[in-house]
């Protein structure tokens, strides 16, 4: 503690002592002077006139009644009339107190929250765990467009439709009638080239789709045959397949290649075979690889033509041999590039469609009523995630609003205080 603060403390203590005892008795002359000053200041305090004291005391005892005709008196009369009317309408006193204590604050918080939630839903609704999947194709398209805009890089996009929100499509619904516990999802539209990259029809898109069909065990063989038939009908082929329709458990997996231009009807026909319980789609832009390979092939061909001309004009055997060796190298490169282009064309001309046949009731993604404990747990988790999503959106609006309101309140309070204090400046 510094000497100055020690002096301040000593002097303040001396002043407090003098005010308490009414006498200036400190041994230090300076402190004693401050004591005397404090006593003098207190003794010099103004005193109220007895008449005023009596009048104010009377008003205080009467509960500070308003002067007749004053603004306050008029306001009080209006308030009294309101309260009388409320008394007639409302419940007993406890109910009013409850309403004042709880309902009003709840309404004060609830109404703005309801408004915020309304605004969120009106603006498109919260996207829960599956909410963003509704526009899977469109989302993929946007990403593809972005990839195209940056020079056609080989970007991978993925859109997946999960069965977290079971809905019945018109066609699949008929099938679902046979298996009422099965949740089905509508088949998402297949994006055309233009959807993946609007305005750029020459884009090369490699696509793959996955479908999971809900098939009764007894119907497994028939549906498996129909999968092959649909594939053939649309000009595609079955790359691999495995079907098991035994009593101990069944299922099937197909890897199909279907021409891209026939993809939409083919998928529609596949979806008609059995209720779709899950589907996903993926798109990959390979335009850049295609263009690069094509350019390199052109360059290689031009080089070969040049080498052939040089070979015709070769003067010596050694020179001709060297050119032939170069020609061999260029020919190898041309063959490789051709194969690469063929492969790319095959991948973009034919979409990969993986079809899984699941036995009705064996899979646990239906989310239906009466599922297992795991189903209930999954549903509860999904609900919680959805709720948290809504809550985060509400907070995203409410927190900034609350901060702005707080800042405004603090600012107003500070401003009012400063204006008041300015009277002392």
């Amino acid at each position: 503690m510094t000497d100055e603060s020690a002096t301040i403390e000593r002097d303040l203590a001396a002043v407090e002592t003098a005010l308490a005892s009414g006498a200036a008795t400190h041994e230090e002359p300076l402190a004693r002077e401050l004591q005397e000053l404090a006593l003098q200041l207190r003794a010099d305090a103004p005193r109220p006139e007895p008449a005023f004291a009596e009048e104010l005391h009377g008003r205080m005892e009467a509960g500070f009644p308003s002067t007749a005709g004053s603004a306050r008196a008029r306001a009080e009369a209006a308030r009294a009339r309101q309260q009388t009317a409320l008394k007639r309408l409302s419940a007993p006193r406890g109910g009013r107190r409850f309403a004042r204590s709880y309902l009003l604050p709840i309404a004060g918080v609830g109404v703005p929250l309801a408004l915020i939630v309304g605004v969120i839903f009106a603006a498109g609704g919260p996207s829960g765990p599956s909410g963003g999947d509704d526009d899977a194709g469109g989302g993929g398209g946007a990403s593809e467009q972005a990839a195209g805009g940056s020079g056609g890089r080989g970007e991978q996009t993925k859109g997946e439709t999960l069965s977290a929100l079971p809905r019945e499509s018109a066609r699949a619904g008929d099938k679902a009638a046979a298996a009422p516990d099965t949740a089905v999802v509508p088949l998402e539209p297949v994006p055309r080239d233009g959807n993946f990259a609007p305005g750029q029809a020459n884009r090369k898109i490699e696509r793959s789709f996955s479908l999971e069909l809900d098939v009764p065990l007894d119907d497994m063989a028939r549906v498996a045959d129909q999968v092959t038939a649909v594939t053939n009908r649309h000009g595609g082929f079955v790359l691999s397949s495995s079907v098991n329709s035994g009593r101990e458990g069944g299922g099937g997996d197909f890897s199909l290649r279907i021409p891209s231009d026939r993809l939409r009807p083919a998928l529609r026909d596949l979806a008609e075979l059995a209720p779709v319980i899950r589907q996903s789609q993926e798109g990959r832009d390979v335009t850049r690889q295609h263009v690069t390979a094509k350019d390199r092939l052109q360059a290689a061909r031009a080089e070969r033509r040049s080498l052939l001309r040089r070979l015709e004009e070769a003067a010596t055997d050694q020179e001709a041999e060297a050119i032939r060796q170069q020609l061999d190298l260029v020919a190898g490169e041309i063959n490789g590039l051709r194969a690469q282009l063929r492969d790319l064309r095959l991948r973009t001309d034919y979409a990969v469609v993986n079809v899984s046949l699941l036995v009705a009731g064996d899979h646990d993604d239906n989310g239906g009523v009466g599922g297992s404990f795991d189903d209930a747990l999954d549903d509860a988790g999904g609900l919680l995630v959805g709720f948290a999503g809504v809550l985060i959106r509400i907070m995203a609006l409410a927190v900034p609003l609350a901060l702005v309101a707080l800042a405004a309140w603090l600012g107003t309070r500070g401003l009012r205080r400063r204006r008041r204090e300015s009277a002392l400046a």
């Binding site: 303040l12 300076l30 000053l37 305090a45 103004p46 004291a53 205080r417 204006r419 009277a423």
Partner: protein, 168 residues
């Protein structure tokens, strides 16, 4: 007429009885106008009476709360009536010397009053809260919304200034 509910309950009448002379003294010290001081004192008690249900212990003691209301009312009055010039003017004689007053006491009193004219509004406010209102430093801190240490330091500085002015 309880001021607050709970364990800190005190009737408004008791608070009034305990604080009335000091509220008046504080307001009169600030306004330097007996008539205005009476109006503002009555107004302050009336406001406090009507707002007694809003008192919360976190705002400090009953007295700090009441003097906060009185201070606001006085400052509003000062602003309204633009009494700045009056504040800086010679303080009103708030009490005549009695026949038995000693001459040196009278001289001392005049010296203190003269020294008070050298204080600005904020300093005068603090002196009034301490010696006219009789508040403790912690209560003053609540009223002014500053720390208790700041109140002590400012008070010491003002007292030292007054002491020097009295001795000059």
């Amino acid at each position: 007429m309880p001021v607050a509910t709970g364990t800190d309950t005190e009737t408004f009448a008791a608070l009034y009885e305990r604080t009335f002379p000091r509220v008046y003294a504080y307001v009169a010290s600030l306004l330097r106008d007996r008539s205005a001081a009476e109006d503002v004192t009555a107004q302050a008690f009336e406001r406090a009476y009507r707002r007694r249900a809003t008192y919360r212990t976190r705002r400090g003691s009953h007295e700090a709360w009441l003097f906060g209301i009185a201070r606001n009312a006085a400052l509003d009055e000062l602003r309204r009536r633009k009494r700045r010039a009056r504040l800086e003017a010679e303080p009103e004689d708030t009490g005549a010397l009695g026949a038995d007053d000693h001459a040196d006491l009278a001289l001392r009193r005049e010296a203190v009053r003269a020294a008070m004219t050298g204080l600005d509004g904020r300093e005068r406010d603090l002196i009034a809260l301490k010696f006219s209102a009789g508040l403790s430093n912690s209560e003053i801190a609540k009223v002014l919304d500053v720390s208790e240490t700041a109140v002590g330091t400012r008070l010491h500085r003002i007292l030292t200034k007054l002491r020097k002015a009295c001795n000059d």
